[in-house]
Symmetry: C2
Subunit: 121 residues, 2 copies
């Protein structure tokens, strides 16, 4: 990630390669997981969700948590994203196993965005 | 890619993992390369460019060609993207070596979009 705070003209563009693998924290400083994937509206090219990878232990697979893109804020010092979520909120959040991605249709979008209280597309 | 043409309710959302690695063709059916990366506006979450990987031979590195997202159309039968570009146009296009990504600022955006004759952001 770009951590050069001296240059004001840093790019407003980031590559998906760099977003993927970036750590996600909450405001309490807890590490919640890392971004595994981005879900993109095919027609408009708008990123709808950053998919958080979280959990997994002793060979158990990790789960995937779609987070509405607008919830993520990049923190230059942490070199990671910060989301306004406590761990309890995340534990009850919509999720799926890595190999069982649901269809990201409007119903699923409403379910996810409804849980976090942000507007669906 | 989703090739299920029987289901009308297919998702309008695609994952960056699936976009990356997808083949890009032109209207003549030539294979131009594959999508290597996506360049995303940090604030809005809008995908600005799909980065085409092209070239490379006998250990020589491949170059990267940013293509404005709007130029890409997905072709279900080809299971790939189609762009309105002949090979000559691509050969003269803005490019960079894999390990020398330029800063994607407004000037670079104007240069790329100007070459293809599509609106810059």
């Amino acid at each position: 990630m770009n951590t050069n705070t001296l240059t004001k003209s840093t790019s407003d563009i980031i590559s998906s390669d760099k977003v993927e693998g970036t750590t996600v924290y909450n405001h309490a400083g807890d590490k919640l997981g890392t971004i595994d994937d981005l879900m993109i509206d095919k027609r408009s090219g708008q990123v709808r969700y950053a998919v958080l990878e979280f959990g997994g232990f002793l060979g158990m697979g990790t789960d995937r948590y779609p987070l509405p893109w607008n919830m993520l804020e990049y923190d230059v010092e942490k070199e990671g994203y910060v989301v306004p979520l406590d761990k309890e909120k995340l534990e009850g959040a919509p999720r799926y196993p890595h190999d069982q991605m649901p269809e990201y249709n409007r119903d699923y979008g409403r379910q996810v965005n409804g849980y976090y209280g942000v507007d669906a597309w």
